[in-house]
Symmetry: C3
């Protein structure tokens, strides 16, 4: 049961030193570059004549908190389905997201809210940082159980930069609409992770195959994650949209789309499963990708599909359908600068750009993570918490006798 | 350990075909009849001169999300207390609620927001649909573990229609007040489920008795459900009430009522339990109802009690107590169209109507669910996930050796 | 396995009678003294010409619900890490918080919103009551598993009074700022509990040492608590602050502080842990305090540190930094009634007052809880649910056979 430590002294220090280095550098960059925006700064907000009720906080904070719960509770517990990787799933979600939130505030801030030498932050920075963390966690899902925390932090370091760059190209240069983050979050996060996982391909991974399954209670924990992602999805999609009818409509559309998808999923699962019983559809990958969480089905294909539908919707946009609301949904069409068809072409080009950034970035990330000095687990110790975590009872368990086991079970 | 499949090919297809049929029909009805209301439609909202801050979204969405968490996390996990029915509890909650949300949007829409041939939807539709799903899940609690997913979907198909009809009679024809959904949700859902469970009475249910209990960790999962229902109850009661003081007061009253109930429950539990230890009060039913979740105690009796108190409060309503707020609480009394006593009589008649709809509907539902072609589990396989779900480790578990068992326990 | 009941008839009645007594007295005091405030009362709110959108409900309710989730889900599940004390952790959290919410509404109301012989309540009362419950639960963490429910209720009865008194001295008499409740909640709750635990010192506690650890799934439940406390902390700190930029800025600062703390914690944990693996830093107490949940590290030291930083920030406050917002952050400095240095001195004196109240109160509480008539568990039965709760399977488990055990594990 006891696992003999293989970390040399040098390796032992990798994780704490990397954490301290990243946190120290981030703190310095925050001190130098980050400032409150008008809605958060005491002096700026009280200058002029606002009603406190107009502060953006009240229009976005409830949705933000829902998104925040999705990132940490939703993603964290979704990945607990592995029978022996619950600490890694929740714990590394914490570590990656905590770093990504800070790092993406800097990266996204440079691209989107850099004014007079300063990055101005407020509620929107927090929502956007959570979105970027979501993309990183989608990629994490593809390599779950096969990578160490040092590798994961380096992945996040690279991915956040490319996420910010891709987002800037799409939203600011191409001026495409990215409803629900189909392209910037789901497609980018999924293919970045999948390509990275492909580069890290382990031919001997079946040595850890017995740990790849779930157990009864680990599946129930994973359902907590699933439900939190499901119930707060309307907030995820509506958190950053235009105030008023835009936010309202987005939440409502997401709500009904999710219910319809759920019935369809049950139908498909019962058709595919043995004996007509229900299960998550299992589509075995033929491409040597080793996609632990099924990221391709969960985020990759739906993201691409969403992007294509987004192109279609743009191509069909008319003033008849949107009225004066067209201005807030497709401003360039409303102002006559682009035809609906041209907007649709820009949307499709945005998808191409996203796939390119994700693939090249994921490839580079994979090469970086293959550096032998890093903390990659051996093939026989994948999907196993004990290699990175103190697990209760690992030494004393057998000695404690069978009474406890039977009582807990 | 292995369970031999008893589904014929015809039975295997029942669930997927029913899901696809219901989803297809619902989608068509949505396309034909459902439209955005003024607060969600881009053209309608931007026509005229509104401040985005006035959109109803901002007054109701946070409460809606709390209600949504109650329906899926609260009800879903509340029922996980059964040791071998966690997948069924959470999974069928998902299935039933996902269907009920759509179906009740149509049914409630026809009764309450049908304008010019269209059902207009917005935030209130979503809140009301979640309430109706709550009633369906209360009924689910009465038959938990003794019914298959096809039976449950048919139950929801019928119950949502009768829920909408009962609600229409009470709120629109009788113009009664139904604080907290005492009548339309709790009383209706409980007695519909209880009568249905009575019709499905199984004399041989003790064959599954050994699975009816909980285990240590299944009880902890059930506590997650309990807590979510408890903490968000103020949002449940206040989500649909009048804006301003009405919503504020309802949340506050619910909050303090819950704390007082909690201390009383601890006192009762310690009095009733063996050795003075704490337990959920166990009131064995003498009426052959086989009420898995104790729906009668949780929702039935409290719902009736709430309805009676609602009648009492209406009978005592005076302008002195409510001031100009009387208009928003009891408008007919404020406008002199009804005396307080007359309002109280209407309230009590509303309770009678609800019990009638629930009983007749539950009886019909029970007869429908007794059709032998449906997917009812055998007496010896009640409260058992394996009959409907792929359960991890069911085939290979013994072969995996005892090490895993002891480590997980 | 079976545990022979040691409760005499007299002891069996202690808990239900105390619950009924406390609830009865609280209900009477509510009926006599508690009234709706202007924002919740129908007559008062509709008197005059308000927009419903101005009701404080909409500015504070979403944050309140987050705080409420922290108190019950966060604290409740945080303490489930003990392998055999899950029911006690969640159940006694419920009991203590339900009582503290009501009792502190009365106590805090007498000190802060007593007008014309009545305590006026609204959203702020609910937020403040939840804060006080938070302090009680912090103290609970120090004595978790070593005290019975009667002892805990008596602790809460005393602690809530002293909490209210300390808060009144600090906020109303000394007019100090207490950002995030550093002094009134964290410092007070931690040292009240620690001193109380010291007075209850058990030299023979190692008889229960084998139950003091966690098991794999109990740690995952505890992570649910941890995450809920973490994600909603921005709401906790911003719920009671000034509307507008104040609330916005507080949420944002908390958000980024938490992410930075997380990376630092991972670094420290990896440095301290054996083999470079991650664990909660274990700082063994040398002071005979027996602090079950590590309350000193979690709340005590951080609370004191926060108080000292609060003093520093006050000492450095200038109109240049805050602009006209200085009025809402440090009104006495803005109005010229105090210098920044004087405000800083008041802050430090507030910390001294808090430590005094907590120490004397915790000492008195400990003496009270040592009364031999109370329901203290024996040294060999600490950290054990069975002494206070009906635990599923405790009698029949062995008879059920091994099949269930292996399947569940």
């Amino acid at each position: 049961m006891a696992w003999s430590p293989r970390h040399s002294a040098g390796r032992r220090l990798q994780l704490p030193l990397l954490c301290l280095l990243l946190q120290g550098a981030t703190a310095i960059l925050f001190a130098v570059f980050v400032r409150y925006n008008r809605e958060t700064d005491a002096a700026l907000w009280h200058w002029g004549n606002h009603s406190n009720a107009d502060n953006e906080f009240y229009f976005r904070y409830p949705s933000f908190q829902d998104v925040h719960a999705m990132i940490f509770v939703g993603f964290g517990f979704l990945m607990v389905f592995l029978q022996r990787y619950g600490f890694g799933s929740v714990g590394f979600t914490f570590l990656l997201a905590a770093f990504a939130l800070q790092w993406s505030t800097l990266i996204q801030g440079f691209f989107h809210s850099f004014r007079g030498g300063y990055i101005l932050v407020g509620m929107e920075s927090m929502i956007n940082a959570d979105f970027c963390a979501g993309a990183v966690l989608i990629s994490f899902g593809a390599v779950l159980g096969k990578t160490g925390p040092v590798q994961l932090l380096l992945m996040a370091l690279l991915e956040v930069v490319l996420f910010g760059l891709n987002e800037f190209v799409l939203l600011s240069l191409l001026e495409v609409k990215d409803a629900g983050g189909s392209m910037t979050i789901h497609t980018f996060g999924a293919y970045f992770g999948l390509i990275l996982s492909r580069v890290l391909y382990r031919p001997q991974l079946e040595k850890s195959k017995h740990r790849q399954g779930s157990v009864y209670h680990s599946d129930l924990f994973a359902m907590i994650g699933t439900i939190f992602l499901w119930i707060f999805w309307p907030s995820f999609n509506s958190a950053p949209t235009a105030l008023g009818d835009g936010q309202h409509r987005t939440a409502l559309n997401t709500y009904y789309s999710l219910t319809a998808s759920t019935l369809s999923t049950f139908a498909l699962s019962a058709l595919v499963g043995g004996d007509g019983r229900l299960d998550m559809p299992i589509l075995e990958s033929k491409l040597k990708v080793q996609d632990t969480c099924g990221v391709h089905n969960l985020h990759g294909m739906p993201g691409v599909l969403g992007a294509l539908l987004g192109g279609l919707v743009a191509g069909l946009a008319t003033r008849e359908a949107y009225g004066d609301g067209l201005e807030s949904v497709f401003p360039l069409i409303a102002e006559g600068q682009r035809s609906a068809t041209s907007q649709a072409m820009h949307q499709l080009f945005g998808l191409f750009v996203t796939l390119t950034f994700a693939s090249v970035g994921g490839g580079l990330g994979g090469l970086l993570l293959r550096l032998p000095i890093l903390d990659s687990p051996p093939d026989s110790q994948c999907y196993e918490d004990q290699i990175y975590w103190e697990v209760p009872g690992e030494h004393e368990h057998l000695a404690q006798g069978s009474e406890e086991t039977e009582t807990q079970a």
